[in-house]
């Protein structure tokens, strides 16, 4: 009873403040007053007062929430068409249930297992080859004494990061073409020119090479930042204990940047299944499908090009669920094993 009364009084107080015009309302004193009574009230009863106090802030979230709802969460629910028949022009959530029809379809589809294998292969290759390189480059940069030289290396190695994937694809075509620089080098050393973009066994190398070019420099930023946080006294202590440069790097520097390494590793594992969809879409051609076709490009062809929306959604949902599982388990393992995690 008393609680109710108190709520009413504050509401009135807040109400008059607003009614008297925004310039009279003083957020701070009002806040102090409400928090005093708040502690004794159940949560739901304070709701009205909180809204009255912060309605201007809440008005800011309306458009962003519409954005997240419409463009992020509606498509998530739209995955339901993996289990329903979809008619173009009909409801975006499909027309009738068909159960696991489309799931069974891709499990029995030999092409699906081929693209699944390619995805795992390219994903693993990217993780194993590309993940350690920025760490090594950051350590090498860290050994430079000339600040100018270091800055030049950084500036040049960050540049590819800013290029559109379309440009990267154009550059790859240019360098790997019949008369491109790579084939010129091969011929100079007495080899035979290789038609890179026609031989599927070369695709993983071309793909990973272009990924390295585009990401290695930019990837050093966070490691370089982490390196600056290492306490110089640790190096001194190590030196007094007789550690040489290599031992200092191994026992002081690397443990110092370990949290950064683990966080980035977890994030990389999370994007493992979504291997460079846009880049592969630009680079590949039917001659390369055997090794270059991944889940994302396959479902693009099945869904968008051939309009099998439900079938493609089933494949996409499968991929997204694997991705979510990977990042959740990587995070959980890391939290238990080394005490570092994303959340």
């Amino acid at each position: 009873m008393t609680a109710q009364k108190e709520t009413e009084t504050t509401v009135v107080a807040g109400g008059t403040g607003t009614a008297a015009g925004p310039e009279v309302e003083q957020a701070s004193p009002l806040t102090v007053k409400t928090t005093k009574t708040k502690t004794r009230l159940p949560r739901w009863k304070t709701l009205r007062r909180d809204i009255l106090r912060d309605w201007r802030l809440y008005s800011f979230v309306v458009l962003p929430l519409v954005f997240f709802g419409l463009f992020r969460y509606v498509p998530m629910l739209g995955n339901i068409i993996a289990f329903r028949r979809f008619r173009p022009g009909g409801s975006i959530f499909g027309d009738e249930w068909v159960g696991f029809h489309y799931v069974k379809m891709f499990i029995n589809d030999p092409t699906f297992w081929n693209v699944f294998r390619n995805t795992l292969f390219l994903g693993t290759l990217s993780l194993v080859v590309i993940f350690p390189l920025p760490i090594i480059l950051a350590l090498l940069l860290n050994e430079l004494r000339s600040r100018k030289f270091k800055r030049v290396v950084q500036t040049i190695s960050y540049l590819p990061h800013f290029m559109s994937i379309v440009i990267v694809a154009g550059i790859v075509f240019q360098l790997t073409s019949r008369n491109g620089t790579i084939n010129q080098l091969i011929e100079k050393f007495g080899g035979e020119a290789i038609p890179f973009m026609q031989l599927s066994e070369w695709f993983p190398a071309v793909y990973v090479g272009s990924e390295i070019w585009q990401t290695v420099g930019w990837g050093t930023i966070l490691y370089l930042a982490a390196l600056t946080t290492i306490d110089p006294q640790l190096y001194e202590a190590a030196r007094i204990d007789g550690a040489n440069r290599w031992q200092q790097t191994w026992h002081v520097t690397l443990p110092g940047i370990r949290p950064t390494m683990i966080v980035l590793l977890i994030l990389n594992i999370g994007t493992f299944m979504a291997v460079g969809f846009e880049k592969i879409l630009l680079l590949y051609n039917p001659l390369l499908y055997e090794r270059a076709d991944v889940i994302a490009t396959y479902l693009y062809r099945v869904g968008i090009v051939s309009s099998n929306f439900s079938y493609a959604t089933a494949i996409g949902l499968f991929e997204a669920l694997i991705g979510l599982t990977l990042i959740l388990s990587a995070n959980a393992i890391s939290r238990r094993a080394v005490g570092t995690s994303l959340w």
């Binding site: 962003p64 969460y73 430079l144 994937i165 026609q198 968008i304």
Partner: protein, 314 residues
């Protein structure tokens, strides 16, 4: 304030200078050799990284015959500006270039409004529902609807062949949102309290105190978004059916795909071309990246500070 100012975290080089394995009074012989190898390696690496750009520019100024016989590497052969004239005389190229400018401007403006307001709200520590608002955004980083449901949604909204298909679905990047959130969280509370006592409402505080003092981080965000939208090609490729609506990236993509063998993807206006000359491709690529390359020396430090700001764990 010092800690929140992006300028203060910009100079990585300066910070690194003071750290790293301690420098001995006299280096051992092994370490001196290592430094030589390290320096040489980094010079070679720089050359390899910059080479594709040099090659691209050399091809843009060369004549086609020299390129196709593999004689253009570091320096133009058969120097000419004709290709530039041809590409720049193409009205569709300019039209698509103009589209890119329009899409980038509109998309960045919308993205900034949504990201800034939302980031400000989720940075208020004692706001009711804050964790819910954060959770809604962060979850979309790890799970999203996927290609087909998004495609179906955009089609059914009637966004096909309109600018909305490009500018709305990517309006909030959660990474940028978190960067802004951690910036606002470090904003000095006393300033806002003083403004409140002086009678400013939340709107007044936000527009007259917070935003004017956040110019550096706002500039960083504008650059992050603008570069991303400038480089983007896939949404336009997916939702635009007419060559007149393409951004320049899709124009370029069609040039490239017209030249690759037996391309089975749905193509655009360039499908009728069987072979596009290498120098035309090179010139189009140069013109597409030109704004970014020209701005790059000036904007690089903002990007670096943005990434470091975003890496601060909440």
């Amino acid at each position: 304030m010092v800690a929140t100012n992006p300028e203060s975290v910009t100079d990585i080089g300066e910070l690194i200078e003071q750290t790293g394995p301690s420098r001995g009074i006299k280096d051992t012989r092994g370490y001196r050799i290592f430094r030589w190898i390290n320096g040489t390696f980094l010079i070679v690496m720089m050359f390899v990284m910059i080479y594709p750009f040099i090659n691209l520019i050399a091809q843009a100024f060369s004549s086609e015959g020299y390129i196709n016989s593999g004689q253009v590497n570091l320096w133009p052969r058969g120097f000419n500006l004709d290709t530039f004239q041809v590409v720049m005389g193409n009205s569709m190229f300019w039209r698509n270039y103009g589209n890119t400018v329009i899409y980038t401007t509109v998309a960045t403006a919308i993205a900034m409004v949504l990201t800034t307001t939302y980031a400000y709200v989720i940075s208020r520590r004692n706001l009711r529902g804050r964790n819910f608002f954060i959770g809604i955004a962060v979850f979309t980083m790890f799970f999203n609807g996927g290609l087909i449901p998004n495609y179906v949604l955009i089609k059914s909204l009637g966004f096909t062949n309109t600018i909305w298909a490009i500018v709305l679905p990517q309006a909030i990047s959660v990474f940028n949102l978190l960067v802004m959130k951690s910036f606002f969280e470090n904003f000095p509370e006393e300033l806002e309290e003083a403004a409140a006592i002086d009678g400013l409402t939340t709107y007044g505080i936000f527009f007259r105190i917070v935003l004017p003092l956040s110019k550096a981080v706002l500039a960083t965000m504008v650059l992050f978004y603008a570069v991303a939208f400038w480089n983007s090609w896939f949404p336009a490729f997916l939702y635009m059916d007419s060559a007149e609506l393409y951004p320049v990236t899709v124009f370029l993509r069609n040039l490239l795909s017209a030249a690759t063998t037996a391309d089975s993807l749905q193509g655009g206006g360039a499908d009728n071309l069987t072979q596009v000359a290498s120098n035309v491709k090179a010139v189009t690529m140069v013109l597409t990246v030109l704004p970014i390359i020209c701005l790059y020396p000036f904007i690089q430090k903002y990007f670096v500070s943005g990434v470091m700001l975003g890496s601060v764990k909440q």
